[in-house]
Symmetry: C2
């Protein structure tokens, strides 16, 4: 088969790879580890995988996702293009914005109120604290002709004496290897890092006696769209560094169904695993360790929270049965995991704890995320809403917990939205629109020029435009003006920022396609809430508190979210946005075995409601796909206010 | 730096590699994984690393190890040659004979008398049997919309029920990964292979329900020169296949000192580890599994016996302190090893049990090897002699066990001998020499033409030539005839087989240099025996039984060994050659946890005698470096007989 060279011009330089003539360009990119977003999984509908030909040509099918104007400007959809010769392509700005750009945040320290509240909740039940690390200086008598005890025995005996135990902890081979050199270069004095377990202390690392390292742990939230990680000092119980990145699997599809389909193709299991392990988690581990100036060899363990599918893809376990009747996963909970099994760049025997799932679509991000929510301890009824790519709800109190999931799509995390992005620097996270001019006043994360819109910004824009009469209940633009236009297909759009106002060099817009996706997303959440309340025999007025979680962005305006019919129309002071509760729950699991036990207890007490089995769900969903709702009486405070 | 191409012509084809000009040829070969024997460690003295230039040239220093005749014929010593341009070289026959040629033996079955005797010995103490494997068919109810229990939970519950335990064995991630596919392709029926441990059953493998696999174990003896492995059916307790190969580390030196020096050089730890793991053990594992037609994924565990240095090199642990005052190893015993740590091609969590050492030069080959010897159970005094590259002795009974080691050199295994080889096909393992003509009658392993001489053949040749008056007490040829000659340096030699009688195309000879090495080896053993007896206050006549072990070859003639002063001159019927006792001990350790406990018990009860600290040792050694001994009264039955 003849072949050609395909060159991808990316922000980090050119990537040139050989490809067979006739090969699909998106697959060539995926093989070459060039991250091109393809949320629709290569159907030609989402338009996110577009590339521009700089040199050479591509052969391309027509597809819905590309406008004639874009086509005229030299854009192609990678998923619908095949290689006919040497070619140089650049990625679209959308693709660039979705690149898995890793962001290291400032040191969080211990000033996080949600974290302190979570610890307080756990302490009320005696579940906290449970300090897990130890650092011990061990001094040995050097060997002599009279005392030829082996290094390992000498060290183990001294460690057992220091710990006051009969049987010293096992020295794993990786540490035994370092022992002869370490002892002889450090006057037979070594620093041991230990992890406390119910089976007694376990060795994490052996270091020169004057080393300043302590035992560390990692906590991680693996979202379908974004991944966050923190590095914890186990001696002080504080966070040393945090970082986040896009989930490297995004190039294989924005939603879990497309990823499961991709995993089922030949080589898919390792592709998806590499995308999350090698291209996302390991760079994050490196980043937090570098930021904190610590060695990854001193990491004791890691706690991970993520949805059921993410956990299967992470561990290289076939997820295909999850999307097929009767939707049974390989595991809800799994124990005995070690970093080495997964391929994480940590000591190979470091335990990896994962938060248990309770259903195919209610995962460990929810069970861990419930820890800070307090639902499990509250006497009053509370509602927990996680606005991720999947929407998950939990309703209940200290007597029962009912949960369900709905497919909201990635709109709240910026996916399926033309200029959507995650809640990171450059994202419009809040907006106010002048009722007269319909010009927006934007708040951008990081303070610079905008590059896109994140979930909370979207809620504001839609709500303000709706309140200002620029959008009708079906999500169509009904206003005129310099910011409103229609393309050749008749699709209306609103210019949020003109080209000169953005960091992109072109405009940021909100289209009627975006509105449609967004309304479906909010309709899915709201209808799930009402159907679950119906199923339990309660109504919205019974809810004492609504806990909102997820990567939608801390700028979320509850009033606006109610005004568009995302959340029930109850008093705003009953709402609280707790941010990434999954990560906070994972942190508790990393710092306390008793928190891990509590998450398992919470998970085992939850009842899973399969929405698709509920007779009224489809009608409720359709009724909710309107601004604020087809039954306006449910939202007395909307618009009229 | 300019570079050239070096091509090695080997029996398995050409190996061409780039090399810098000025690079040392032996190092180039070692980097390229071309096995060239260098028992002297590159000093230019042993002459084993010679190569012949076929095309191009080499720049070479003069060295003792190469005769002018060999030089004239185009031979070079790789260790003393440097690259000056493109060159093609062929390896010497000696190098070829020492290649790590892997040999798969016929299935051993259960007809080995030494093995049955060992089991009987262990049974007398209640240490046997302890059957360790299990194979269970588990049938599951398929999942349904009503029963969405996860695959892992479903399987674990069924396994716990079948085993009658509350807490089912952990399913390692590697097996969990296979579960969804395995269940769905096999009507939710699977075969589980289990290992019994003191902590309860452990899962080894999950297989289709109609699979015929059972749990297997491996036992392995890692000698400095040769490595042997057997595959055991744990259900029946029988051997399914056996194989042996040269230790792939030979190219880094024939004795342990040279290997430790090589390990201490940059990159040495991984080089030495790769040579034994990737190039020796893994091919052996593949060979025995293939021979028996079984999957290496069903191997439950492995037991390894080897000397202290071999264990350090195998595990990638620095061995350098072993050769430096006060000669302290990193470990005598080490626990918690897993196949994955070592890099063995077996399930990564499969335990690897190693026989404990008792001294820097008395290793697990001896402690495991003592199991079949019965010393630990005998009321009468016994002497155990292991004739390896190091000679190790144990003397004692069920009340005490004293041990010592001496550096015999590799002569008994065919090393340091011009035409020496291991006891494999083509080796002369026995010889009778006509007292008149001084022509030999040879016995060759495998029955074909000879390619070299193994340990037992050497003993016969030296003894017969000495008895026939062709060699004097100092190891010099004093006879004339067509088989006797002297080279330009005056070194005498005896032609054992003329060129046309060998499989090599050139003659097999025994030289005065060989005799000198051999006499030093036998002198080291004999003097160690006498010094250790002195230290315990006993004499040779107190020995009720001498157990001879090691790779010297089953053809050993005890009368000849006594006649040359290797063994004490006591009645021949007190001697028994048990062969590779280290491998038999490892087999017992693989089949029974109680045998493993017994080996640890034996090791902890042994007293180590450091010969170099004994005042009379050096004199005793020098006195023993004579045929049969400078004190002829010690050998009344020799020659005069």
């Amino acid at each position: 088969m003849r072949s050609a060279t395909v060159t991808f011009r990316t922000s980090s330089g050119d990537v040139a790879v050989p490809a067979d003539l006739g090969a699909n360009l998106l697959e060539v990119a995926q093989q070459a580890d060039v991250a091109i977003d393809a949320p629709c999984g290569g159907n030609g509908t989402c338009g996110k995988c577009r590339v521009r030909v700089l040199e050479g040509t591509l052969e391309s099918e027509d597809a819905l996702g590309l406008s004639p104007a874009a086509k005229a400007a030299g854009w192609y959809l990678a998923c619908k293009s095949s290689i006919v010769g040497d070619v140089v392509v650049e990625l679209s700005d959308a693709a660039a914005a979705w690149q898995t750009g890793l962001k290291v945040a400032d040191v969080v320290g211990d000033d996080d109120q949600v974290w302190h509240d979570t610890v307080a909740l756990l302490e009320m039940e005696g579940h906290w604290p449970d300090w897990e690390g130890d650092a011990l200086l061990i001094e040995l008598e050097p060997p002599s002709t009279e005392d030829t005890t082996s290094d390992l025995q000498r060290f183990s005996d001294a460690l057992a004496r220091t710990l006051g135990v009969d049987k010293p902890p096992l020295v794993p081979l990786g540490l035994a290897r370092a022992l002869p050199g370490l002892l002889r270069e450090n006057d037979f004095k070594v620093l041991c890092l230990l992890r406390k377990t119910k089976y007694g202390p376990r060795l994490i690392a052996l270091l020169p006696y004057d080393s300043l390292e302590v035992p560390y742990a990692l906590a991680c939230d693996i979202g379908t769209t974004g991944v966050s990680m923190i590095l914890i000092d186990l001696m002080k119980g504080t966070v040393l560094a945090s970082a986040s990145a896009g989930n490297g699997q995004i190039r294989y599809g924005a939603d879990i169904i497309n990823r499961i389909i991709r995993q089922a193709r030949p080589g898919g299991i390792s592709r998806l695993r590499e995308a999350i392990v090698d291209q996302t988690l390991n760079p994050l581990i490196e980043a937090v360790c570098k930021r904190a100036g610590v060695s990854s060899e001193c990491i004791s363990h890691m706690a991970i929270a993520g949805n059921t599918t993410m956990m299967h893809l992470l561990l290289g376990v076939e997820a295909d049965p999850l999307r097929k009747e009767p939707f049974v996963p390989c595991f809800y909970d799994i124990e005995g995991l070690r970093a080495g099994d997964i391929g994480l760049t940590m000591p190979i025997f470091a335990p990896v704890y994962v938060a248990p799932s309770v259903g195919s679509y209610v995962g460990g991000d929810i069970t861990a995320g419930l820890l800070p929510s307090g639902l499990w301890q509250s006497e009053e009824l509370r509602l927990f809403v996680d606005l991720g790519t999947n929407g998950e709800l939990v309703f209940g109190n200290n007597e029962f917990l009912m949960t369900c999931a709905c497919s909201a799509g990635p709109a709240f995390e910026g996916g399926d939205i033309k200029n959507g992005m995650r809640a990171v620097d450059g994202a419009i996270e809040a907006a106010i629109i002048d009722a007269q001019t319909l010009d927006p006043h934007l708040t951008v994360i990081g303070g610079g020029k905008p590059t896109g819109i994140c979930g909370s910004g979207l809620i504001d824009l839609v709500s303000e435009l709706f309140r200002g009469g620029a959008i009708d209940g079906k999500g169509r633009f009904i206003a005129q003006g310099r910011r409103f236009s229609r393309d050749v297909h008749g699709i209306g759009s609103y210019t949020v920022a003109f080209a000169e106002e953005t960091a992109l060099g072109h405009e940021v817009v909100l289209t009627e396609v975006d509105l449609e996706n967004f309304i479906r997303a909010k309709g899915a959440i709201f209808s799930a809430i009402t159907v679950m309340l119906d199923a339990t025999g309660f109504s919205v007025t019974d809810i004492s508190r609504v806990i909102v979680a997820g990567g939608i962005g801390s700028g979320i305006d509850i009033g606006n979210a109610i005004a568009i019919g995302l959340f029930p129309d109850i008093a705003q002071d009953r709402y609280a946005y707790l941010g990434n509760t999954s990560l906070i729950g994972a942190r508790a699991m990393a710092q306390s075995p008793r928190a891990r036990a509590k998450v398992k207890e919470i998970a085992s007490g939850m009842t899973y409601l399969e929405l698709s089995n509920e007779p009224g769900y489809m009608d409720a969903f359709i009724a909710a796909c309107f601004l604020p709702h087809t039954d306006a009486s449910l939202f007395p405070s909307s618009r009229s206010a």
